[in-house]
């Protein structure tokens, strides 16, 4: 098996181990197992980083050109977001939520076509890196927020968790804005039009509107459980934008 595949499988395994650790810690009321979970998650991210670096070296270009590669990049953002925001808000539950989101996404990645192909002419641009990275960072933040929202709905919401959900949503929204803007500028130099209303573009705009509405609803006083539900609905939009458009609709974006 290729070296980077071993590292990706290791990252997946360590993430599952982290989840198991936290589950055991909760069931057996042993907080020390929780610390093992944290370590496992950190190691998982290191393995993923090493794997992605190796893949980059082997491809001779950043691994960002198809759904498999972009999904791994999305995963790569989840861990630092989880660690950072768990520290920032002082909520340790964010890490298991992150691990759960990561594990599910790893499972999804296992179903994808891994074939590495050279970049087609339309993708040969410096804009590829910033456009795909910011979009994946956005999706990662939204995925973590959705995981947090799901957790909150099941276990009850606290003020810190609310704060965490808001911060992640803001982060995701900022990155999504950057992703859409860079995509538009790139489209103008690649296709001759800064907006073609292709399904991917339209759905990313719809996702952006969804989160904008969510943030404004919050200003109007919609908080707590209701906000959590709205975040989950918005994440549904993210999933359709990322996967649904590719599998169910066709358009200019049919590579990622």
């Amino acid at each position: 098996m290729a070296a980077q595949m071993i590292l990706f499988n290791l990252a997946f395994g360590l993430t599952l181990a982290a989840l198991a650790s936290w589950t055991a810690s909760y069931l057996a009321a042993r907080p020390l197992l929780g610390r093992a979970g944290k370590t496992a998650l950190g190691l998982a991210w290191l393995a993923l980083t090493a794997g992605l670096t190796l893949l980059w070296v082997r491809l001779g270009r950043p691994p960002l050109s198809n759904q498999y590669e972009s999904l791994l990049t999305l995963l790569w953002f989840i861990y630092p977001f989880a660690f950072y925001f768990s520290r920032r808000t002082g909520r340790p539950e964010i890490l298991p939520a992150g691990a759960l989101a990561a594990a599910l996404l790893f499972g999804l990645a296992a179903l994808m076509d891994r074939t590495a192909r050279p970049l087609m002419p339309a993708l040969r641009s410096d804009w590829l890196v910033i456009h795909v990275l910011s979009s994946m960072a956005a999706y990662a933040a939204f995925a973590l927020a959705a995981a947090g929202a799901a957790w909150a709905l099941l276990r009850g919401l606290s003020e810190d968790l609310e704060d965490f959900l808001l911060r992640l949503t803001k982060t995701g929204f900022a990155f999504l804005t950057l992703g859409i803007a860079t995509g538009s500028v790139w489209a103008e130099s690649a296709w001759g039009s800064w907006w073609s209303w292709d399904p991917k573009e339209t759905w990313s705009l719809l996702t952006w509107l969804g989160y904008a509405a969510a943030l404004h609803l919050r200003r109007k006083g919609i908080r707590g459980t209701k906000f959590g539900i709205i975040l989950l609905v918005c994440f549904g939009l993210v999933l359709f934008t990322y996967f649904g458009v590719n599998f169910l609709l066709s358009g200019l974006h049919s590579y990622a």
């Binding site: 192909r117 050279p118 087609m120 002419p121 339309a122 040969r124 641009s125 803001k170 982060t171 929204f173 900022a174 804005t177 950057l178 803007a181 538009s184 500028v185 103008e188 130099s189 690649a190 296709w191 001759g192 039009s193 800064w194 907006w195 209303w197 399904p199 339209t202 759905w203 705009l205 719809l206 509107l209 969804g210 904008a212 509405a213 404004h216 609803l217 200003r219 109007k220 458009v245 609709l249």
Partner: protein
């Protein structure tokens, strides 16, 4: 009235209407896209008015608030400039041909400059490899297509006689390469099977050929034929007589005289042909200015 215009309720209502339009268009609509309709433009204008009204009526608005919302209004304004004034035309050219005409639907436009195609070339990442696959009752075998290579199976013997990248037949009935590119890859094989020896051409684009003639299944396919880029070398002659010589490829358009020329497509049937697209869109710059303002606002908002 102004209170409604500056209300968040209007924003939520517009979000719902836009969402409905997007869902309808992307999932159900089979007719003309809704984005060109007057009511969709109306929604856009209303959204811009709503954002502007909210910003103007807000007391003590912070810098990031103003930048974000102003940026959005500028983007929408740019979209309207594009909608009203954008020009796009197709410029098909063959090598050696010079033209100042661009085609858009049924209309023909005369450009303020002429474009001459000097050369068109297609680049592959690696030299493509032909692979011959043989399947019989005993299994499947692959053979890399190199002239003179041979394969012996219990049921048959194969030999590669000749290879062609872009197989064509001249007016005199002789085989010839139509272009230097791998558009119609073919391999001439000598196959000895069931006591008969045959010489047949196999085509990568037509894998079903000869299926009934042979007791085994033989196909020819191309590997590592990924295209790296395609480039047109052009000479642009302006009204003042100035000549600009440049290369246009995908992701490397040529901006000249206020217009932009893009490498859009090529024709596998004609290696001397290129399809360029010429556009002029002042609105794009307004939109990009809007993006800059918006992103600056977003950055300040995050830092808060």
């Amino acid at each position: 009235m102004l209170k409604v215009l500056a209300s968040l309720r209007l924003f939520f209502f517009l979000c719902l209407l836009l969402a409905a339009a997007f869902l309808y268009q992307t999932l159900f609509n089979r007719g003309a896209p809704v984005y060109g309709s007057w009511w969709f433009a109306g929604l856009g204008a209303l959204a811009a008015a709503n954002i502007a009204a909210c910003s103007l009526s807000r007391r003590g608005a912070s810098a990031h608030y103003l930048l974000i919302h102003a940026g959005l209004v500028v983007v929408i304004a740019g979209a309207f400039v594009t909608r009203a004034f954008r020009f796009e035309g197709e410029l098909p050219l063959r090598a050696g041909q010079e033209s100042d005409l661009a085609y858009s639907g049924r209309d023909t436009y005369k450009l303020p400059f002429s474009v001459k195609l000097e050369d068109f070339k297609l680049e592959y990442y690696r030299e493509p490899l032909g692979v011959i696959t043989v399947e019989d009752a005993g299994g499947r075998r692959d053979l890399y297509a190199v002239e003179g290579a041979s394969l012996t199976l219990p049921s048959a013997r194969l030999k590669v006689l000749k290879l062609a990248r872009d197989f064509g037949v001249t007016a005199r009935g002789e085989t010839a390469e139509k272009s230097p590119y791998w558009f119609n890859p073919a391999a001439r094989l000598e196959i000895t099977a069931a006591g008969k020896t045959r010489r047949l051409w196999f085509f990568a684009n037509f894998p079903g050929m000869h299926g009934e003639d042979l007791p085994l299944r033989v196909t020819y396919a191309l590997e590592q034929a990924e295209i790296k880029n395609f480039t047109s070398t052009v000479q642009v002659r302006g009204r003042a007589g100035t000549v600009t010589r440049a290369e246009i490829s995908v992701n490397k358009p040529l901006r000249v005289n206020g217009y932009t020329l893009y490498q859009t497509s090529y024709d596998p049937a004609d290696a001397r042909y290129t399809l360029l697209t010429v556009t002029r869109d002042r609105g794009a710059w307004v939109v990009f200015a809007g993006f800059s303002i918006l992103l600056l606002g977003v950055l300040l908002w995050l830092r808060k």
